[in-house]
Amino acid sequence: MTETTLARADALSAQPSPSLMQSKGMIGLLFMLPAAIFLLAFLTYPLGLGVWLGFTDTRIGRTGVFVGLENYQSLWDDSLFWLSVFNTILYTVAASVLKFALGLWLALLLNEHLPFKAFIRAIVLLPWVVPTVLSAIAFWWIYDAQFSIISWTLIKLGVIQTPINFLGDTTNARITVILTNVWRGIPFVAITLLAGLQTISPSLHEAATLDGATSWQRFRFITLPMLSPLIAVVMTFSVLFTFTDFQLIYVLTRGGPLNATHLMATLSFQRAIPGGQLAEGAAIAIAMVPFLLAAILFSYFGLQRRRWQQGGTDE
């Protein structure tokens, strides 16, 4: 019974009746229209406009004229721009590595047999749900130069003598913003990887244990290869969001102290909106695109290649 139904369904989907075919293009176009209008008007067109603005000398309140590569030439000689490039790369690499390591660890912990598992999973995701700006404001207070609760605790415990200057010192500020970004990113990595972990069949681990594999070997040769396609996607997203981060820096340091935490996105905003140099800001934003493409290609293909390990051919 079921077989005949399936066969008939197959035949049907293979060659739908001609009346369906007639207006496919028209129906498709009509249905795509609302999304297409929005995306073309507010995404594709601005993207092109951004590229164009980068080649002009537009300021707020003044339409610019084409000036060729002038903006990019001045950026090339701009040490602050290169500092922001360095900061962005440092921020992205350090935060992504930490997010991945800690996120994977948390995912493995949550994959264990635990009491109140659903509840723990729900509260762990909170840092990702709460608006970044609002949690960053809470961190701003936690990192206060005089009344930081972290400093207070450490002084009480006798670890340090004077309060830590979290955001006033260049090295401290860099570490602080990176760790805060990690705090916000861990739940996303952990919960998505957890979804992947739950699809790995326990029988694989049982079989490996019978063959005498240690828990590290099981992690290295079963969990990691099975998870790597998902890791590739999750980390691509994570790198993308970290590289273009704006909110956290804008709240915590506004790029200071001594521009040590200025990212390309915050520099672009600072030059374009308060500074009024729309063209220069656009040029900085466009300068992010090659880095982004490289990051996406690297993390995507670099990790995707391991997909063959999923094939199940034991060696």
Partner: protein, 299 residues
Amino acid sequence: MTSTVKPLGHTVADESVGMSYLNQAPRRLVTIYLPLLVFVFVLLFPFYWMTITALKPNHELTNFSDFNPLWPDSPTLQHIRYLLFETSYPSWLLNTMLVSIGSTIISLVASILAAYAIERVRFAGSRWTGLAIFLAYLVPPSILFIPLAVLIFKFGIYDTKLALIFTYPTFLIPFCTWLLMGYFRSIPYELEECALVDGASRWQILTRIMLPLSIPGLISAGIFAFTLSWNEFIYALTFIQSSENKTVPVGVLTELVRGDVYEWGALMAGALLGSLPVVLLYSFFVDYYVSSMTGAVKE
């Protein structure tokens, strides 16, 4: 030789799952519960601190020697009262709500139609359209905000809620479409074919068959879109000038911080109240939220 090998202790009735019998309780405590406790503590402490600070009266805020900093000595609602009656906070809340609901509805409608067209109508080039939608999702707002600001100004909707309602769909539509495409794919073709044979139009199929069957997907996409718009910052910061049109994240950051005097109590109360709506929504629909987050990544 082999006969001397005795079965290990785990042959006794064991209700634990899989191979967890291999871990003894003390070891589990150190390798699992302790790290987990540290994770949960670190991830949640800022929210605790936010709440506690919002409830402390001003003289307790910075006086760590006379009062226990970890608990309000005489809790007060003065900061929340100040926010609600002496600042524009209520109108920021209302703005954020309107903008989030407006952009979510627009995005959902556009995404349902687009996802259905790509996944089921299968017009020429639907595969490429699907790919383009995915690529659109990867375009970050920090690249778009400058040209968008120019565009918004030209359209004459600068400093209005419309500016946000129209620009938020740029990141919501790609996400929702991608998510709904996955949902539509899981609905059997046969249902649609039966309806087609019975003479239903595409529109009827979509509204009478596909949508009722994909309600979980719609809830997921809707909640996620709402949260994303509630959290949005850079567009709201750039496109809105006047205090009464600001959203909560922008308003709290730009209006409650005056010069060098940080009113931490009011700031924390603002952050707390601004987080509550999304947290409440999230707590009611945790599973939908998680499934939309993982679903969008898994494809």
